[in-house]
Every structure is written in structure tokens, then in C-alpha cells.
Symmetry: C3
């Protein structure tokens, strides 16, 4: 936590707008030189291939002897995706299905060509490879410039784990004795709209009558109002994760900095459910990771990644981290997740976010929305998130060349 | 009726072409500051919402205490369509499903925000509202500039009702003791191509073997030739509707100004059916309304609107106005319409117009058609319609900004 | 055969690349002033219409008294495709379904208009017509400039028939006592990518485990390596077909100029099947015709055309020419083709080519691939094909005007 901005500053910032975060507006294809989840570990069996597109870059994944390799999913020869029909004829290599160009998984170098083993291209040509870090049941890939070294540790791109004595602590993905379970799927919106929806304190009206509210009898607020300059807490330590937290739970002193609104008398609308607040707390982290602590229940964390695929689509990652203290409890959690929470949280609740993000896409698709949107006091956190990205992004991804513009790296 | 042009003038006009009606060529997104049908009255029940896109403008409709309100279907905050899930928590307002922005239906002003009732945007922000006129079973909306006042009466944008002693009189939409029944649906062509197909005296060849021709045993001509400068009658009175009529029925003196062609001996083609002519008479009116008198039978009028939705789609309105003299007759008309005429006229006949308009779209999509078309003598009415629009349109709609160009109003 | 390039020259040429064949890169819409197959003869019955789009030009076909006419499939009046519902009311003419514009099939001239037989446009307006040559069971159409005369003979645009004493002779489409059987279908790639896949000696890896290989127990090589400057043979006689042949079969002296690679020991991959080589031999000819001699069996020729339809699609023609010496043998060939070879060769083998071409399309769609591809020694024939096209194409087709660019002819 580095900086606390004043409420006036918060509000003012919504007016100055776009000029203050131009790099964010430019980041239609995502942030480069960052870590992104590519697949869950269980999705890539030993000896198999997988693939994913991140920030417009096609990635081919392969697991060998447990180790995951990530390599550009485009043969240098004629530009085809190798993942259409990937071959591995020799350990440590991938062979393109088309003309037998065979690359080293570790260095991307052209090792041989099936029917032209003396071709002068061999040894003189390489496709990109990407650093991989497999942790917490997830295969993360570092998407960025070849000359961006050293590769920052994965943990700089994960939400900061909070200490067990932090007020309203919930389990961290990186803790011991936790289990993380989730899904991923494709969404039709730019990744920035997905982020902004995710931790927007005003958007919760869309969940007003969510099945999860009925199931838990626990009210979801109709929205939240920042009460003071302490509503937002910024995380900007030099070697730490960069993020901004909505202080929707009481702080170290038991003080409240957001008012959760459960009723608007003028309009005669009330939140559903009678249960008390869970003090869930949202925070957003570069390069686009949401954490919701104490959701869907006290002590559990929901994590969401909004991974840029193209400029109009993102891969939506949804997972929950549960603490457990015994194998029996762990088995019970898995059972409850598979049979109830997966459907109730990801579909009964998050599905509404999916279409809400999609609904913003036309307005923002050609950047008109960034000029014409009318942000209010509840949007302070969004403006501050945009500025945070502008301050700390390690790079702005340029569009794939095939789409008519110059791409930085290639 | 103001002007009668000479046949020479008619023919000549087809050659000079595009220069004479440049505003028409520019009107890809329709004419602004005009009245358009949005929904049939029966499509918007008390207390319900509806929506329609007209001239690229998304419109949200709501009926309260019988009165219909039309408001911009885009929340000022993040640009989403409120019609995705419209809320009304308090009479006279609509609340956006996303962040609870609540607008007055009458003035479009931001009245409150559910969870931010003290937001400075409140009272300082408005979305557009649109004049509504509900008549003849139709909800009409005036699409145009906020500062275009006073709003012209609806009747200036409806076909001129002809007097009962007008030769070959047929029932007017605006008459007493008539019933109007119809449908609307979406078509894949620019609205101008839809208009031009509608009252084009040469296009009727497409109906040569229409089921309706077999059902009625009444020949549809293979086409019509203007015989004199009296073939077209223009309606351009200052405060009246602006239109042009094909004088395909005998005039006040019993004179004929069009020859209906029922046979071409050189080609050996004859119209189907042996019944005599019905003297149906077509006319086209700003902002794109067709009237066909004495069709599908003597005394009945067919009305068609071609309402611009986008630059490539239009809403196709089809309705028939029947006179009746008793409640029994009215009930019989409804019965006959529901069980026979609706299908026979709109599908058995008009479906051919639907694909004919679509067939022109590629040639005109990038305006190439306006330069390269080869108009003949039968197209005099089309050229004169284009010029009429150029003379009398109250404004040319500019494309929605999100599509990359400046829109006039917003 | 005119020129034999040295192996050094072959390899060097792959490096200089794009500059040497700029016209080829420009030929996204195909080569104009060439003959293309439009339909098989059996697809156009007496008195019927057909249609096909070639090099972006919509073509309407009609057979009358056995003679096939090809005419522009776009009415000059309003630009619609007449093939949507073509009428013939009088021999030698086609009448547009929309307004009765009636054109002469032989000269494209506007002969009459159904309901306006005295229109001044009549006799003063013409649409394009195209030379037709119906031979070998195929209707060929010459697509090009109206003023490109004289029309070259069809045979200049067919693969050169080889003499019966040519080494490893296979039946020619143009021979006596042969039967040619085939299909055509649409493919989603630019026609140049389809060509390049077709006779690329390195692409055969995609057929490694083709059902045809299992059925015939005859190995398909994993690829082929040019051994000397005699690997390619060029056909560039002034009045002859222009083509380039992979000398994958022994030459007149029994010498081999390609090594077929059946195994790569480093990678541990072997070709399937134990049968000896068939000495099939590929060659590619302007304007985009592949011939594979001795495929799928000795003595038979496979012909493939890759006819540009749009810039992103081609019509894929696949046919086999079989020699026969008696009517019984002919009947047996037809039986075997219909029940076995059609499916096994075109689907069990060529289907893999279909998706392989499609896989290249994104990389080349905006010409990026032509700059960024990395061609190797096996690609000498591709580079030489591109240069051959650059030397001998009779014209480069310009895009249809409706798509926003000037088209050469219209």
C-alpha cells in the first residue's frame, strides 16, 4: 500500500479522464511483458499439446517429463498454426504438420526439416518461445519482448497475498493448505471492459436477483459509495504486484470507507436477502486480475483473469481458493464445488457479468466510449485503475501484423 | 399537386443523374427530422418497454398510463443499451440495469443513481428523448435534432389522404371507419433501395407468377410506360406531405398517363390472369412511405414504410387499410386478413420484393451503383423521387459515431 | 522446355524473393486474359442456365442448341445478378427478372425491355460477354479485357500434353481414348496459396497417414529434395502453355533429379506403406492448373484447377484422366471411380490439402506472409512458379469496383 488519494482527487480524476491514461486507451491488445494464465495444469497431460491465444499471440504448449514448454504457434515457413495437427517425433521438439519444420521446444530454433535435413535455414531460424511458470494448478506464460530481461517473477503479476492478520483475511491462491478450483471460457468484449466490470463497485445491480442471492439469502448491495479518500488503497511497491483495492471491508481500525447501499427509497428498490454483509473486498491487479475476498463466502477468495485474446475477445478465468484443514474437508470442498458452487457462482452469478461486458463493447470498440462516457463518483476506482495501468504497465501490446499494423516484436 | 414535368424533362433527368440529387446519395442512414413508425400500438402494452433502431439511433419505448415515451436506448454512463434489461422503479423513469442510472422518460435527464444519489452528474446530464405520436394504431417517433423545433405535425410525413371524390379513391389510413392491419420485419438492404423497389413501375415483372395473381385471377402488368408529362404528379405544398404519384389510374378527366404493358410480343411473354385492371396507383412520400391504392383490391390501400435501421438494413412495415360500414364487416375483414390476406399479400406477393431489394444491395453498398446504374425511361419516377428527397428532406442523418464517423447530433 | 536453372540459382532465388515476382503478389484476384473452367458440361443441360464467379466476375451461362454462352451476370440497369431467377423468353436472349432488360447472349447488347420496347437505352447498352470453349467435358470461359484480341487458344492455358514416349508418360486430358471424371467445390483460401500447396514437393507430409496410403499400401514420400539444376523443367515456348515441372520421375536418360525422402532417422519418422514409388510427377501451369502424372496410379493423371472466385476463395477443381482401350474398360473405370476413387482420392487424400491451404490464409491475407515467410531449399519450385507467373501472366485482375477499388475493365 503506497498512496491514499483524497476523495476530491478521486472525483476530480473522473473529469480529466482520457489524457491521464492514454497508454490504457492504447492497450487494446493487452499489456505486454506480463504473465498470463494459458491453461490449467490438468488441461495439459504429459506428452500432449495445447494452445491458447494471448494478447493476439498464438501459443503452442507441450508438456514433456512434467515440464511445460510454450512456443509460438506459427511455423516460420508459411505461417500456419502448428496446433492444427502438432507432431512430436523426438523429445524436445515440435514438428509442423505441413512441411516438417522441426523446432526445439526450449529455444524455438529450427533443428531440422524432415525432407530437407541439410537446408541452410536449419540453425539460422527461430520462432519465439515464452517463459512458463506452472504454479497453483495453473500454467502461466510470459508474453512479451524477447529482449525484455530478466523475466520478472510470476508473483509480481499476481494479487498481493494478504497476511493472516489483515482485517477480513481470506485465503490466498499462494497460501499453503488451500485448494483452487475453476474454469475458463471465452468472452466477447475487450479485456479492459471485462476488468472494469469486474471490480466496479456500482455494477452489482446486475446481480440484484441472482440465483446465488436467493440460495444464500445474503444480500448483494445495490452499489457502493466511496466515503473518503481511504476508499481506495494502492499497491505500488517497486518489486511487488501493482493493484488497487476497494476498501469495502472495515480497515485495520474498524473504520468503513465505502457505504454499501441496500436501498434507494426514492425509487423504492431494496436488495434481496436478509443476511448480513460478508465484507467481500475487490481489488484489481496488473495485468488484469481480479480478486474478490470473502466471496462467495467468508474466508474464500474468487480470482478472475481477463486475458486479452484479440481486441474483441478475452479468455475469462474464474476460480475460487478455499482453505482446508484436513483431507476430509478438502474432499468435501471439491464435492460441493463440483455439484453446487461451480454452477451457482460461475453461471448463476458471473454469467450476468459476461453479457454486461459484452453490452459495453460497441460503445468502446472504436474508442468512442473513452471520449464520450460520463463517469461519476462511483467510477473513481475505474479511473484510478486506468491510471495505475498507465503508470506501471511494462509495455503495450501492438496489434498482430497480419491485421494491417506493425507489431512490436515480430 | 404542384408541378407537372414534361416527358422530355422526365427522360432527360435520368441522364443527368447523381449531381441533381447528391443529398439523396448521402442519405445512407436515412432522413432526419422526420416521423417514423417504431411499433404497432398493440406491441407495447401498458407498463411495458419496447425498442427499435431508427436511422442508426437506438430507441427505448415505454407506455405509462397509456402515454408512450421514447428515449435514447443508450445509457450516458457506459453506453449500454438499457433495453437489454430495462427497469422501472418509479413512474416516469427508466433505470439502467447496469449501474442504476435513472432517467426521466419525459426529458431524458439523469434523476438519480441508485447507489449514488448525491452524484454531481445528477441533474447535469441528459440523454435524448423523442417526440411520439400514437395514431392509427401505430406509435410514431420523430427522429432528429434536439434543436429542430417546432416538431412538424405527423401528417406532414404521411401520404396525403385523397378526397372521396378523387378518381379511383381508396381508403386512407387517416379516414374514419377504416381498419388498418399489418406486420413489420427486417430487410437486408439500404432503405433507399427498398423505397425505389416499392413504387418502381418497372419492377412488377417479379410478381408475374405471384400466388396472389393466381388466387385473384387478376393480371399484374409486366411493367408500365409513362405516356406523357402527366404520368407523375408531385405533392409539394409548403405544409403538406411531400410525395410523387405514379398516375397509373385514369385522372380526373378519365385520361390515362401510363400504359400498363400486359404483353411483349417480341419476347412472347404475357401477364397471367384474365381479370381487368384494378387501377392500383402507387405513390412515395417522405421520409420513405409507399402507398398503393386499390391494392390488393379495389377500395383498399396498402401502406409500406421502409424505415432505415442501419445503412444495410431497414424495418419493412406492411399494412392494409380497409373501409368498413358495420362491426360485422369489420370482424369479417379481420378474419379474412388473419387467415388469408396476411399470408397471401405480405408473403405470397411482397416476399419477392424483399429479395429483389437485397439483390441490389452489393451494387449500391459503396455508392458505385449510383454512378454506374443505367436508368431508362421507366425510371423517371425514381429519379424524380430522388430529386424530391433532395429538395424536401429536413436533414440527412449522419452515421453513428461508434462506426467511425461524426454523427450530427450527438 | 526452355530453361534449366542451376541449383544455386534455385536456392538463391528463394532469398531475393518478393521483388522478383511483384506481379504475382499483386494478383490477389487472379490472372486476367486466361481460360478458366466454369462448369462441367454435364452441369449445364440444354436450355438451362448456370452461373459461376471467376476472378471476381459473376458469369451467367446458358446452353442453347448445344452451344454455351457466357455473359456478365449483372444487369446494367440496377446491378442485380440475373442468375437469381434467369428468364429466357426468346432464343438467343436472357431477360433480367427485375425489370425485363433483355440482352443478346452472343453480344451482350440490350435488345429490348419488356415494358419499354422503345427505350433509348435499347441498342445503346451492352454487358460483357466471354469467349467459351467446351472441350474434354468442361466448359471453359475466357476472363479478360474486351479489347484483348485475338483470344488465345484454350490449349495455351492447359498443361502441355506429353508425348507417349515421354518417360513415365501418363494419359493427357487432351488424348484420344481417355475419360476424365471429377468434381469441383469451393475452398477458403486465396487461389495462389491453393496453387502453391498443390505442387509443393515438401507438403506431402500432410498425406503421411492418408487413407489412400493405407488402401494402396504405396508409400507417399515425406518430402522431396531437389538434387540438381535439372529438378525443375520450364515450359515457356512462345505459343505454348507456360509451366514448371518437378522432375520427380527419372528423366529421358533415367537420371533422378529429386530425392524422395521416405525416412528421417534423426526424428524416427518413416513413410507408411511398402509399395515402390509410382513416379508421380507434378507440374503447375498458368493460370493455375496442376497436373499430377501417375497419380493415384500409374498411367492416370490428376488435374486440379484453383480458380480465383474472390480474393479469399477459390473454386477447387479435381479430376482424373484415365486411358481406356475398350468400352468395357471405360465402364469399369466409371464404376470404380464412382464407388471408390472419387471418395478415396478427392476426400480421403485431397481433403487434407483443403484445410492446409486454409491454414495459410491468415498469414497471407494482407500480404504479410509474402514479406515474412521463410522459404527453404524445397521451395525453389514455388519461387520459380511465382517468377514464371510474373513473366507470363497476360494480365493481373483488379478488384471489383464495388469493393472500393477500380476494376480494370469495367
Amino acid at each position: 500500500m503506497n498512496e491514499i488519494v483524497s476523495r476530491d482527487k478521486l472525483l476530480a480524476s473522473t473529469a480529466v479522464g482520457r489524457k491521464l491514461y492514454q497508454p490504457y486507451v492504447a492497450a487494446k491488445w493487452g499489456l505486454k511483458n506480463h504473465w498470463y494464465p494459458a491453461l490449467y495444469s490438468h488441461e495439459l497431460a504429459e506428452g500432449s499439446f495445447g494452445n491458447m491465444t494471448i494478447c493476439g499471440v498464438p501459443i503452442l504448449l507441450r508438456r514433456e517429463d512434467g515440464i511445460v514448454h510454450a512456443i509460438e504457434d506459427r511455423c516460420a515457413h508459411r505461417g500456419v498454426k502448428m496446433s492444427i495437427k502438432p507432431h512430436c517425433f523426438k523429445k524436445g521438439t515440435v514438428t509442423c504438420w505441413y512441411h516438417g519444420f522441426t523446432y526445439g521446444l526450449a529455444d524455438g530454433e529450427l533443428k531440422t526439416i524432415i525432407a530437407a535435413p541439410d537446408d541452410p535455414l536449419i540453425g539460422n531460424l527461430a520462432i519465439d518461445t515464452y517463459p512458463v511458470s506452472e504454479k497453483y494448478g495453473i500454467i502461466f506464460v510470459f508474453i512479451g519482448d524477447r529482449d525484455f530481461t530478466p523475466t520478472p517473477p510470476l508473483e509480481q503479476d499476481l494479487p498481493e497475498p494478504l497476511a493472516r492478520d489483515y482485517p477480513y483475511y481470506a485465503a490466498n491462491l499462494t497460501d499453503e493448505n488451500v485448494i483452487t478450483l475453476g474454469i475458463h471460457r471465452s468472452g466477447n468484449a475487450n479485456w479492459r471492459l471485462a476488468c472494469e466490470n469486474g471490480f466496479d463497485p456500482g455494477h452489482v445491480l446486475i446481480h440484484w436477483k441472482s440465483p446465488l442471492v436467493y440460495a444464500s439469502n445474503r444480500a448483494v448491495a445495490l452499489g457502493s459509495r466511496p466515503l473518503s479518500d481511504k476508499a481506495l488503497r494502492f499497491y505500488e511497491e517497486e518489486n511487488g504486484p501493482k493493484g488497487v483495492m476497494n476498501m469495502t471491508a472495515p480497515d485495520e481500525n474498524g473504520d468503513y470507507h465505502y457505504e454499501r447501499v441496500f436501498e434507494n427509497k426514492e425509487l423504492g428498490i431494496k436488495a434481496k436477502g436478509t443476511g448480513g454483509p460478508t465484507f467481500s473486498r475487490t481489488s484489481m491487479w496488473l495485468p488484469g486480475v481480479l480478486r474478490v475476498e470473502n466471496f462467495p463466502m467468508r474466508g474464500v477468495s474468487l480470482y478472475e483473469w481477463y486475458v486479452p485474446a484479440t481486441d474483441k475477445t478475452y479468455e475469462y478465468w474464474e476460480m475460487m481458493t478455499f482453505p482446508y484443514s484436513s483431507e476430509e474437508e478438502k474432499a468435501e470442498i471439491i464435492d460441493r464445488y463440483e455439484n453446487y458452487l461451480k454452477n451457482m457462482v460461475f453461471h448463476g452469478f458471473n454469467d450476468d457479468d459476461l453479457w454486461a461486458r459484452e453490452a459495453m463493447q460497441p460503445f468502446y470498440e472504436n474508442d468512442v466510449g473513452f471520449d464520450e462516457e460520463k463517469l461519476g463518483s462511483m467510477d473513481a476506482v475505474i479511473v484510478n485503475w486506468r491510471k495505475l495501468v498507465a503508470r506501471h504497465a511494462r509495455g503495450i501490446q501492438t496489434p498482430p501484423k497480419e491485421l494491417g499494423q506493425t507489431r512490436g516484436r515480430r
